[in-house]
């Protein structure tokens, strides 16, 4: 699994790993019943500390995305549709800052909505 941690992001490294795993599930490169890369493997390929990966995995476990199985590792137990909800929730926290700025600058919801639609079409 390949991902790059952006240290300048407002999301801490372990959250970026959680997002990366969820993205992999949404894109289908990780599917239900798959074994996730081991903490050691992912730490080496992502170039972060294993404790950071361990923290992300613990969180994914408590969210019910992973189940830890002795001797096997972490198993993916949630499918695409269930991930979308939590994925959007995490995106929300990232949007709070720019939206707050826009709101206090007097930009109306309509213009943001319009911009989002245009952007969506472009992508």
């Amino acid at each position: 699994m390949w991902m790059k941690i952006n240290l300048r992001s407002s999301l801490p490294a372990y959250q970026q790993i959680i997002m990366g795993i969820k993205e992999a599930i949404l894109k289908g490169s990780l599917t239900e019943d798959d074994t996730a890369p081991s903490i050691r493997e992912l730490a080496q390929s992502v170039n972060v500390n294993p404790n950071t990966v361990a923290r992300a995995y613990r969180e994914l476990e408590s969210e019910g995305v992973f189940v830890a199985r002795q001797g096997v590792g972490y198993i993916v137990v949630k499918g695409k549709n269930e991930i979308i909800k939590t994925f959007i929730l995490q995106l929300e926290t990232q949007l709070v800052e720019p939206l707050t700025k826009l709101k206090y600058s007097g930009v109306g919801l309509e213009s943001i909505d319009e911009m989002l639609r245009e952007l969506w079409e472009k992508i």
Binding site: L7, R8, P12, R40, A43, P50, N51, T52, R55, E97
Partner: protein, 286 residues
């Protein structure tokens, strides 16, 4: 998780009036990397020397619940001076390391030497500053120790070797070892360390997980006349930044401000922002 290193109320004064360390307390969990970050003269090197028992101090230091002096074979230390025998060849130096330290793993050292392309037959005096640092670090990393103490582990190294050195340190962590090191290269710390202690003027300003910094704290910029709105809010740091007042606060405290529009800008601090905010709050009194 067990504690690998526990420092309690560590004090050190070199001459009667100069307090280098003014009551330092911190702990390092086993299997983690903990970086000691601070400006020059903050007391980082002295702190490591106290752990190694090279200087007298008051306070209590425990490594794996024991006095560090009693478990020397489990601790590997690389000093800032990187004192090497200048007239010796690299290979001779490594052989001496092997002879004097039973914990020295020659196989691993040979691997590092080839990874970093250090010329083994050359005299140490012909190596560059960065190569000397690399060689000292190799002598330390090749110890089969449980706790590694490094003073400026990438001093004078080029960016490529630096990244590689950090990878090697990370590999030790993957093996379950503990690393405690000093640095003033913040991005490097952000990428390698789990937790950080920020030290300034012999005092700890912050000690905790790096990932928590982004989640728990904000820096907000306000106009000076709005400062009274923050009367009841504990400020971690307060300083002037180009005419505005910058405040380092916990996120949970921010919700107490009734009028959010007084905030000109709010940022989620990177380790660098956080570090600068703490240090500037100490030196730039309003």
């Amino acid at each position: 998780m067990n504690t690998a290193l526990e420092i309690k109320n560590l004090k050190k004064n070199y001459r009667k009036n100069i307090d280098v360390l003014k009551g330092i307390s911190l702990s390092v969990q086993e299997g983690t990397t903990h970086a000691l970050l601070g400006p020059n003269g903050a007391g980082k090197t002295t702190l490591l020397k106290c752990v190694m028992d090279f200087v007298r101090y008051s306070g209590d230091i425990r490594a794996f619940s024991k006095k560090p002096g009693d478990i020397k074979e489990r601790i590997a230390y690389v000093s800032e001076e990187k004192a090497l025998y200048r007239n010796m060849s690299v290979i001779k130096f490594l052989k001496i390391c092997e002879r004097i330290s039973p914990a020295f793993n020659m196989g691993r050292a040979a691997e590092y030497i080839s990874n970093f392309s250090i010329p083994v037959n050359k005299k140490i005096s012909t190596l560059s500053t960065g190569q000397c640092t690399t060689l000292s670090m190799i002598s330390g990393l090749s110890q089969d120790a449980d706790l590694f103490l490094f003073d400026e582990p990438t001093h004078g190294m080029d960016p490529v070797s630096r990244v590689m050195m950090m990878d090697k340190i990370r590999e030790r962590i993957i093996d379950g070892k503990t690393v405690f090191y000093t640095s003033h290269i913040i991005p490097e710390v952000e990428q390698t360390a789990d937790s950080v202690s920020i030290i300034h003027g012999g005092q700890i300003l912050f000690s905790g997980l790096i990932d928590d910094i982004k989640e728990k704290y904000s820096i907000v910029y306000i106009n000076s006349e709005c400062l009274k709105e923050f009367d009841r809010i504990p400020l971690i740091s307060k300083y002037n930044e180009r005419g505005a007042i910058a405040l380092l606060v916990e996120n949970v405290e921010l919700y107490k401000i009734a009028d959010q529009s007084i905030v000109i800008q709010k940022i989620t601090p990177s380790l660098e922002d956080f570090f600068m905010a703490l240090i500037r709050g100490m030196t730039n009194v309003l």
